[in-house]
Amino acid sequence: MSGQVALSTRALVAGYERDLPIVRGVDLDVKQGELLVVLGPNGAGKSTFVKAIAGLVPIHSGATALGSLDITTVPAHEKIRHGLAFVPQTENIFGTMSINDNLLLAANILPKEKRARRIAELYAMFPDLGSRPSLRAGQLSGGQRQMLAVARALIVEPSVLILDEPSAGLSPKIVSEVFARLKQINETGVTIVLVEQNVKAALAIADRAVILVEGRLRHEGPAATLADDPIVAELYLGARREPNTVTP
């Protein structure tokens, strides 16, 4: 893990409606190669936060950058060209199209010579998908869909991969498979930002975690120690409101 910053936000304020910000000023630095988990109670704005970075939710003020490149005003469909891939929580694959078409779609922004090779590489990484490439994606199981969504995101060899609650709706066994995959991908050097409700599973693979409460960053720390930190439970149950503290 180099010390460089792969993804950052500065005083990010975002929300669907102009007068109702959901993300209320978040500063975050994601180091290159790390696996960061964004935790927080329901309604904290975790999903909105990453969607704002991805360009799907309007940013009211503040900035977000990919490395040294400011991407605050870059349109959503161009962010992936700069190496930022996003996997939404729901509806993250094209169910009416085949597995192969899903991948071809994503590969379109690669130069022509690289497309076929990259798709073949991904089929090798995800043999389940490679065995029936002409299957309609809508017929895949929940876990396989998640794999397809991740494979699709990886096609462009992104530097940063953001996932919004990939464990949602999956059985514990599948969740651990998916998470093991993500860990593998992270080990190849891809920076991963994971929004999760499944605290235990997420912390097991993460390097670091941050906790979002009511649109603000309330806590952060190494994943290993955070699992047992009582402040986590407190913030989730929302008993008290604390100023932003950082545990060493």
């Binding site: 991805a54 959503a76 469909h77 992936i80 996003f86 094209f94 009416t96 199209m97 078409d101 779609l105």
Partner: protein, 303 residues
């Protein structure tokens, strides 16, 4: 039962089908029923008429019938020009009206209302420029040649059918085998996800307008060649277009063509049974039946 009804039905059906493909594409990708689509048909026919007349003015030879057909080289040349210009018209209307309403997050209803207004404006503009007198590409008469089985068709009609077939196959291949076709199908299914995977949705929208309007233009030229050119020709086709698009299943190109043929054939046979004055009601009956029995159409997915 007159077997000629089969030929009439196929010809009308292929015109309706070409128009319905445009309707179903814009409907599935832009998510609203475009009441102005009929006017692309009419404008296509009139633009071709204007260009063809201008070419004929410059060189009379271009008007002389080519081969077995009733028209000269001026028509195919002006057809190509007209397709481009009609596409441009669609882009203009989108830039001035629909695109702005989309940016304002206008609801579906506002878009349909605006399309209704745009349709009326475009239609009346044609009436203003050309008057409502029927116009024709050519005065040359054609003899219907026997095809066997009691069917007869003029060379013009055969050409029109051939062009329709080629276009449908081409559009289908475009949608299933090319990158832009995949992008269109993606945007049709999920616009937001399309942006996430790197598709420039605005570019896809422009292409859909160009394609839809281009097909409408061809349908208009066919109708103008085989029947006549009138400012209301688009309006007359609008109900059959919608009926075919819904019968085929919104978003399905083969569905739209097949449904167009069904509507055309139904009209032709109904005319045999109850008389030509009831032609326009056939599309409505088909529409009602589809909505009653299977609203998602032949190839559509239930909502």
């Amino acid at each position: 039962m007159n077997p000629q009804a089969l030929m009439d039905g196929l010809i009308t059906g292929s015109m309706i089908g070409l128009g319905a493909i445009g309707v179903t594409l814009t409907y599935s990708i832009l998510r609203f029923a475009n009441f102005a689509h009929g006017e692309f048909i009419a404008w296509g026919a009139y633009i071709a008429l204007a260009v063809s007349s201008a070419l004929g003015y410059l060189s009379g030879g271009l008007l002389a019938p080519v081969g077995p057909f009733s028209f000269g080289w001026s028509l195919p040349i002006s057809a190509m020009v007209a397709v481009v210009l009609t596409g441009g018209l669609a882009l203009l209307v989108d830039a001035l009206l629909f695109g702005r309403l989309r940016a304002q997050r206008g609801t579906v209803i506002i878009m349909v209302m605006a399309s209704f207004g745009a349709a009326l404006t475009l239609r009346s503009l044609l009436e203003f420029i050309f008057t409502s007198k029927p116009a024709y590409y050519t005065k040359a008469l054609q003899i219907a040649l026997p095809l066997g089985g009691g069917l007869r068709a003029t060379p013009d009609q055969m050409l029109a059918l051939g062009v329709a077939v080629v276009l449908v196959v081409a559009v289908h291949l475009l949608l299933t085998r090319t990158a832009i076709g995949r992008s269109m199908r993606a945007v049709s299914e999920n616009q937001q996800l399309s942006g996430v995977v790197g598709i420039d949705v605005r570019k896809v929208v422009r292409i859909v307008w160009l394609l839809g309007a281009g097909l409408a233009c061809v349908a208009g030229i066919m109708a103008g060649l085989l029947v006549q050119i009138r400012p209301h020709m688009g309006l007359d086709l609008l109900l059959p277009l919608f009926a075919a698009a819904i019968l085929g299943g919104i978003g399905s190109v083969p569905g739209a063509m097949l449904a167009g043929l069904i509507v055309g054939l139904a009209e032709a046979f109904a005319v045999q049974l109850v008389g030509a004055e009831w032609r326009a009601a056939v599309a409505f009956v088909i529409l009602v039946l589809v909505l009653l029995v299977r609203p998602q159409g032949l190839f559509g997915r239930p909502e």
